[in-house]
Symmetry: C2
Subunit: 266 residues, 2 copies
């Protein structure tokens, strides 16, 4: 174990852990440095078992024992700080105790993610990390094989997404689509029927839309405005979850859970 006791919250070696509540700062910092943050023993274990290499750890002394096996299996330094100083670095009370900074791995090509997949989620421009995490969790639980993200969809490896996904962002294969405009026709060309969840007038009930299909790509839009016109129109089919008269929407986490359930049982 490479334990490194620190006493100065301003130590430059703690740069990965600064101001975790500042979403804008974290977005650019994490992308720039090709890293992401895992919070809590369970999530750290899942990230490491999924093959992500730790850059470093940050924790109060009382959490070291519980992660001893993980810490022993790497050369990455474990910065040990008194609890109140750890919270000072992170900018909030680190109640799950341990933090780890891990290297992102290169995103796999779309073809690799789709190999062998029969049910795939395609997320356009979700902005809320909670929703991205929730969609991954539901997709994994309900039998989906992979997730593809539009270039502007929120990051699945953001701390909040990871937490809500309960590890599914590590286990479910995913990648970014290189191109937004022709993303859905490209998927159709690869043998997937793209089914867009929408409130469009010509949408058919989801159960009918997916019935009997082999390879399906279920396409979800953003929280506010739903799918772009381009994606809505370039999908092979438009589907709706039948709702009570006068009510026109479910939140995206609920809608995706229902759509995944129905699609997985087609």
């Amino acid at each position: 174990m490479n334990l490194v006791p620190l006493e100065d919250p301003a130590d430059p070696r703690l740069a990965d852990y600064r101001d975790l509540r500042d979403v804008q700062l974290r977005k650019s910092l994490e992308t720039e440095h090709g890293m992401f943050l895992a919070e809590g023993e369970k999530v750290i274990r899942r990230a490491v078992s999924a093959g992500f290499a730790p850059r470093s750890f940050l924790m109060a002394p009382r959490w070291v024992d519980g992660l001893a096996d993980v810490l022993s299996a790497t050369d990455a330094p474990c910065y040990v700080l008194p609890e109140e100083l750890a919270s000072e670095v992170a900018g909030f009370h680190v109640h799950r105790g341990a933090l780890a900074s891990l290297n992102r791995t290169p995103l796999p090509p779309v073809a690799e993610v789709l190999a062998g997949a029969r049910s795939v989620l395609v997320l356009e421009d979700l902005v809320d990390h909670t929703n991205v995490g929730a969609v991954f969790r539901s997709g994994a639980a309900l039998g989906f094989d992979a997730v593809l993200l539009a270039p502007r969809c929120a990051d699945p490896l953001y701390r909040r997404s990871i937490k809500v996904a309960m590890g599914a962002v590590f286990t479910l294969p995913w990648t970014r689509l290189p191109d937004w405009a022709d993303a859905l026709p490209s998927l159709s060309a690869l043998g997937f029927t793209t089914v867009a969840l929408t409130l469009a007038d010509d949408a058919t009930p989801i159960e009918d839309a997916v019935a009997g299909l082999d390879r399906v790509a279920l396409v979800l839009g953003s929280e506010g405005h739903g799918l772009s016109g381009r994606w809505e129109q370039s999908a092979d089919r438009r589907a709706i979850i039948p709702m009570r008269e006068g009510i026109d929407s479910l939140n995206v986490a609920a809608a995706s859970a229902v759509a995944c359930y129905v699609t997985a049982r087609r």
Copy 2:
């Protein structure tokens, strides 16, 4: 319109609007005074149309016009404060502009809420207001008729629940169950088949569990531990949402959406 310009954020007339982010304080304050808070023009309109009587309003000058019709239809004072002072009272930036304090109405008897209902949600001890709101929203959208809450379930009229529910807490009839221990047998006696969502070994897939039933009460447990043993065992049936091998849970909002969808289409 009873417009009352104020300039002192410490004015005692603003007591209903203090420290909106302090969950513990708000819980006792709102219960004690029999009030709840609505945030934003849309939510305020929905609360007032649903018959809740406003006690007062609090907003910056630029929001008055948009709510003029609502303000004109009541004697309740509208406290008008500069935006930064309004935020000082509330303890956060009031970005949706307008706040209203409304009187709670007496909770209806269970029999009244159940009259004519065919599909009912029963929530045991959900602690998260976001989840309570999400369950109401999904239940309303997917065709449920009413919601019953165990004595300790989180408050549907808490600001956060209301926001997430998108108004469903105003439109879907709901009440508290007077008694926890025999709640489910009492519902069975009223002609409902109680179906508990659980991971119990003897649980059957939800589609089979609800097939062909007339009146159904779908029973959901808390986020962390699920249902109490008492409720799990006293339900008429135990049901599970079939999940991928090795994954044992969906979050309660996703699970309830799927369960409502399946149950509504039984």
